[in-house]
């Protein structure tokens, strides 16, 4: 659901090529220009459009709800402060994801990796290992979400970053290269390995859910 909303949000932002002609009033470029001229309402529109994908992305790489909220706020404050430095040819969403990645990385430096590891007594994981799968669909979905989240947190930083940007945020390889600073070759390798690892961790659910 959230994924669909994100895609709708990106379409509204005019970045998926779905903006009909003549509706440039609230295009990303127009909003940037308005913010630069001091229109804060335009920045609120930017926030409304991008806050959901940005907070999802940060949550994917931090796996910490409170922290994600704080870092999302920090991302937008920084974006506002530095909007003047956004180059004309840069895509707003790519730029925002780049800021979010930097903000999250900075916060990582203060934290130990151990906090993001899955505990062995994690309910979802133990149940998965026992092969006990709840019959109810909503429970399966809820648990599947937990399993995906935990599997994601087991990836190393680079793989998680690339996986989240490609699979969840639908960014192109070129955009991911801009956001992360990785070469296309590296990000392809990371993405492939991340997919294999995710498949291994989520496989039992993939077989049951479909």
């Amino acid at each position: 659901m959230m994924k669909r909303l994100e895609i709708v949000a990106l379409r509204q932002a005019g970045e998926l090529g779905a903006t009909p002609p003549g509706t440039l009033m609230n295009s990303a470029e127009d909003l940037i220009a308005r913010v630069r001229s001091g229109d804060q309402q335009a920045f609120q529109l930017i926030f409304d459009r991008y806050s959901r994908p940005i907070i999802s992305f940060i949550y994917d790489i931090t796996n910490d709800r409170e922290l994600s909220e704080e870092l999302m706020q920090e991302t937008f404050v920084r974006a506002y402060k530095n909007l003047g430095t956004l180059r004309g040819d840069a895509k707003l969403s790519t730029w925002l994801f780049g800021i979010a990645k930097n903000v999250a990385r900075e916060s990582f430096r203060t934290k130990e990796r151990a906090t993001r590891n899955v505990e062995l007594d994690n309910e979802a994981v133990t149940e998965l290992r026992d092969g006990k799968l709840p019959p109810d669909d909503s429970l399966i979905n809820k648990e599947l979400n937990g399993v995906i989240r935990d599997a994601l947190s087991r990836l190393d930083d680079d793989k998680r970053l690339v996986f989240a940007l490609k699979v969840f945020q639908q960014q192109s390889y070129e955009e991911i290269a801009v956001i992360t600073g990785f070469s296309i070759a590296k990000l392809k390798t990371d993405l492939h390995r991340a997919r294999l690892e995710m498949r291994r961790l989520v496989r039992p659910y993939l077989e049951v859910s479909l």
């Binding site: 659901m1 926030f47 003047g84 180059r87 989520v202």
Partner: protein, 369 residues
């Protein structure tokens, strides 16, 4: 196309990263190869599962209000001019004078050298004036006159001093307008109370070394001059830090004192939350807290400045919050880069006891409303 060639491309196919020609080749191979077709189906199924992934996190309107409040605080700082525009302007500037480029460049260099020399000269004059203007005679003849040796740290570390006055002294001097005046009065009364001077150097490895001084040995005028000079140094330090991109702000003037306090409380809150969330190793091993330490040091300087200002404004609630925060920041700033778990735990317990994070949160919310 063979399977060895096709399989590595299937992911790119699912990701929509293949060009039309390659896509056609892959499609024609998939129509004849069950193994590769199965791989494609598997990837598409996974994609579908990931597309339905729901996170237990939402964006609430309150979050926009927080962002808005923080932006309001930042509004005083002007938006950066786009780099491209700046580059274009520079390009125009040089481009328009193609035929005079060497002469123009030489003139520009001379101008820059001239300005730099002027600034250096003015700075050295100002420093000389500040030393020369120190009265050689104390205004109160009953008090002993301090010698140059009375201020070893202040002189040897010129340019990098700041004062953290003893809280007891502040209590005794409550109601006075500025710390400088407070120190002067303490001096004139002949009280020998300890003043803690934090000698900080941006280059030094240990930025905070606390040295005890006795202000009472100075005459009134000398004490005031010394304090003024040291306060000037604090401002200098903070201004330099701001110029380097630090989050510190100059002591005077505050454009909006309340928002400055709220901003400071917000930053302190983030730092303390981050510090509290550090997972302690079980066997009391050392823990890397260098980032928190550095942040605490920056916030400490600002805290001192704000506390003084709050005190002089008679803002009792703000003074109390900053007074509670200061020793905690000091403790974190004084931790070694690799702190022992028990030291970190002790600070966390102190934070918990003082309920400082909640207090700061309330302060931020009150100010933003």
């Amino acid at each position: 196309m063979k399977c060895e060639e096709c399989l590595p491309r299937i992911e790119e196919c699912v990701d929509g990263e293949l060009d039309g020609r390659m896509m056609e080749r892959i499609t024609s191979h998939l129509s004849t190869c069950a193994e590769c077709a199965n791989e494609l189906v598997r990837l598409q199924r996974e994609q579908e599962i990931y597309a339905n992934y729901q996170r237990d996190i939402e964006v609430t309107p309150a979050q926009w209000h927080i962002v808005q409040a923080r932006i309001e605080q930042e509004k005083d700082a002007p938006l950066h001019e786009p780099r491209t525009r700046l580059r274009e302007r520079l390009g125009e500037l040089f481009g328009a004078r193609k035929q005079f480029r060497p002469a123009f460049a030489a003139a520009l260099v001379l101008l820059v050298v001239g300005i730099t020399a002027g600034v250096i000269y003015l700075n050295s004059r100002r420093q000389q004036d500040s030393i020369a203007s120190g009265p050689s005679k104390p205004s109160d003849p009953n008090l002993p006159i301090g010698t140059a040796g009375d201020l070893p740290s202040a002189r040897s570390n010129a340019g990098n001093e700041s004062i953290v006055e003893d809280k007891k002294q502040e209590k005794n001097n409550s109601g006075q307008q500025t710390p400088a005046v407070a120190s002067s009065r303490a001096g004139s009364a002949g009280q020998k109370k300890n003043t803690v001077v934090a000698v900080s150097s941006p280059r030094s490895r240990n930025p905070l070394q606390f040295i005890s001084l006795t202000p009472g040995v100075f005459g009134d005028g000398r004490a005031r001059t010394r304090d003024r000079a040291l306060n000037f140094k604090i401002n200098d330090y903070i201004n330099e830090s701001s110029a380097r991109g630090s989050t510190l702000t100059p002591l005077q003037p505050y454009l909006n004192f309340d928002s400055e306090i709220a901003r400071h409380a917000d930053r302190a809150q983030l730092l303390l939350r981050s510090f509290r969330n550090v997972r302690l190793p079980a066997n009391n091993r050392a823990l890397d807290v260098s980032y928190e330490k550095e942040n605490a040091r920056k916030l400490l300087y600002q805290n001192i400045a704000l506390r003084r200002d709050a005190d002089s404004r008679g803002d009792q609630p703000a003074t109390e919050v900053l007074n509670t925060l200061e020793p905690i920041l000091l403790d974190i700033a004084n931790l070694p880069n690799r702190a022992k778990a028990r030291d970190v735990r002790s600070i966390e317990q102190h934070m918990e006891k003082k309920e400082i994070i909640a207090t700061l949160q309330v302060r931020t919310l009150v100010a933003s409303n």
